[in-house]
């Protein structure tokens, strides 16, 4: 859109070029904020609501299960929670970069360093997304599968009927847990940041 003026008036070309970069910075920044917040939200919102003998919830990054007043520890879930660390790190760095990009855009300043950092972080987020999906299916899914059911024990005292445990998946999460929407989001984020970084390099080379 600025190509005709760029050739005839050098200063106009520079301004339009900067506008172009600022636009990329803003769009990529906004999308990165949206993406990282989605991932962070997914990490903290309860994925499963546990009811019955055991009450509580299970999220990606933490869980709370109680039987009466006694808190229950589950090693498998703790393992899954420790696995969310790289995803949190990745998402937080993307969030900081996204917020910085938007803040710079507000002051009409372009920062190429942000583009250069956001690009690899966005690419890595694709791996994080696959990784988180694997974590979920392998660990949390397995725990949930084993938690639900009737708790009846037969021993020397007789038949101990503790009750049943029902697990309800949050409707929002059941949509988000499908790998496709997250993967599409992460790929889109990577595409935006790639476009921005390529713009930065094309400007540097010119």
């Amino acid at each position: 859109m600025f190509s005709s003026t760029r050739h005839s008036h050098g200063w106009v070309g520079l301004t339009s070029n900067k506008d172009n970069l600022l636009a990329y910075q803003f769009i990529t920044g906004c999308f990165t904020i949206f993406y990282s917040l989605t991932i962070l939200l997914l990490l903290i919102i309860p994925l499963y609501i546990v009811d019955g003998v055991v009450k509580g919830f299970i999220a990606f990054s933490f869980y709370q299960l109680k039987m009466g007043d006694t808190r229950i520890r589950m090693p498998e879930l703790e393992k899954a929670i420790s696995l969310s660390a790289p995803i949190i790190l990745n998402s937080l760095s993307l969030l900081v970069l996204g917020l910085n990009s938007v803040t710079y855009w507000v002051y009409r300043r372009h920062n190429p360093l942000l583009a250069r950092l956001m690009f690899p972080a966005s690419l890595a987020s694709i791996f994080s997304t696959i990784f988180s999906y694997m974590t979920h299916t392998v660990y949390i899914g397995r725990v949930v599968e084993s938690l639900a059911g009737e708790y009846v024990e037969t021993n020397s005292a007789g038949i101990l009927i503790l009750g049943s445990v029902t697990i309800e998946a949050s409707p929002l999460v059941s949509i988000m847990l499908s790998p496709l929407p997250l993967l599409i989001l992460s790929i889109l984020n990577a595409i935006f940041s790639t476009m921005w970084v390529l713009q930065v390099y094309s400007r540097l080379s010119s």
Binding site: G68, R116, A124, V138, A157, G158, I159, I161
Partner: protein
């Protein structure tokens, strides 16, 4: 020219990766690459491992080989062959407890000849991709484009892979079992004769709230407990006298206590066996007294007793100088002890006590020496 060559390499690389990753699912390729996605073949194959297969039309397979068969385009399975029988074969995952359903031998596409762990093939693929699409020259140093990006990306990737390898892929997830509160039987005993039956529990994280139901069961008889109470982790049941009478009359020595307890979390239903040791009344003469004790939880009928006193000296004894004294019977209540004074008896005497036990009449004889 150089740029053209680079483009050719890039396109070839992409084609190669696509062909290797998904091509084998569609076409009868001589070599196929597949990634393991579960723990069914653990520890032979771990999730993420790259499996290299040679087409079954090139290398024959036999029982014990790891093969790849495809159910459809999207689902291929890497399992071990346990049986090949003409047109069908049976496979099994090394970590799976049972065999897979039979498959047609036509569906076996590859025989596995090797594997590359995730931590080797993924970084190699990523690094090669970086160098092909973003070629870095060591001569240019840090000034060159995409150098910082590459490093940042590799740090993130390494972090993810390290976590993935260390925490997820090394061991299969165990089936989680909750350490739930439990309640087991500590002991069963009776107190105060049989008037109190005590059921003692050992509980972890559970407390008895109340007794919902309590039944005493003996053969065809089932009666509700008349009295019971909870004392911490124990339940005390007081069976009524009629229950023991029923047992005694029917010559039964074993019975059950069926309890339904309401716990702070859940319920406990248990049947606890008890036995009654029916014993004859205990009779003894001590300190010029006849002591009769009833060790049973039922009344015992003493039909009566008779004392035969002999006169002093041999002559009196052989001449038949005998004095007799009789007393009427009485009922000896459960666990009751009756003492009969014998101090008035002047000389050596014999005492006969008759009582009824299990519908039979017994006679106990004791001697009093003076």
């Amino acid at each position: 020219m150089k740029e053209r060559l680079r483009e050719i390499i890039q396109i070839s690389y992409v084609i190669l990766i696509i062909a290797f990753s998904i091509g084998a699912r569609f076409l009868p390729t001589p070599i196929g690459f597949f990634t393991v996605s579960g723990f069914s073949m653990y520890p032979t194959l771990k999730p993420g491992d790259l499996v290299i297969g040679v087409g079954s039309f090139i290398t024959p397979y036999k029982e014990g080989d790891v093969v790849i068969y495809c159910v459809n385009v999207s689902t291929c399975v890497v399992h071990r062959l346990v049986l090949v029988n003409g047109t069908y074969a049976i496979t099994k995952g090394d970590y799976n407890p049972s065999n897979d359903p039979p498959i047609s031998t036509d569906s076996i596409r590859f025989k596995v000849i090797g594997t590359i762990p995730l931590l080797v093939w993924l970084p190699l693929t990523v690094v090669s991709l970086i160098f092909i699409f973003f070629p870095l020259s060591p001569r240019k140093g840090l000034k060159q484009a995409f150098l910082m990006e590459t490093f940042v990306f590799l740090i993130f990737l390494l972090l993810n892979l390290t976590y993935l390898t260390i925490y997820v892929l090394q061991t299969p997830p165990a089936f989680t079992k909750l350490s739930l509160p439990s309640m087991s039987l500590a002991s069963l005993y009776t107190e105060n004769g049989y008037s109190t039956l005590i059921i003692d529990y050992h509980s972890t994280g559970l407390k008895i709230k109340e007794v919902e139901d309590c039944f005493l069961i003996a053969q065809s008889l089932t009666i509700q407990c008349s009295s019971y109470h909870v004392d911490g982790d124990r339940v005390l049941v007081h069976p009524p006298g009629e229950f023991y009478m029923f047992l005694f009359e029917n010559n039964i020595s074993a019975f059950m206590v069926k309890l339904t307890l309401s716990l702070e979390q859940g319920r406990l239903v248990g049947k606890y066996p008890f036995t009654v040791d029916w014993r004859r009344p205990v009779l003894e003469i001590t300190n010029n007294k006849l002591v009769i004790s009833n060790p049973n939880p039922i009344p015992i009928e003493i039909l009566g007793y008779r004392i035969r006193s002999y006169g002093d000296g041999l002559k009196a004894r052989y001449m038949g100088n005998v004095t007799e004294y009789s007393a009427p019977g009485f009922i000896l209540q459960p666990f009751e002890t009756e003492e009969i004074d014998l101090s008035w008896i002047p000389s050596q005497s014999y005492i006969e006590v008759r009582y009824v036990f299990f519908n039979q009449t017994f006679t106990w004889v004791g001697r009093i020496d003076k």
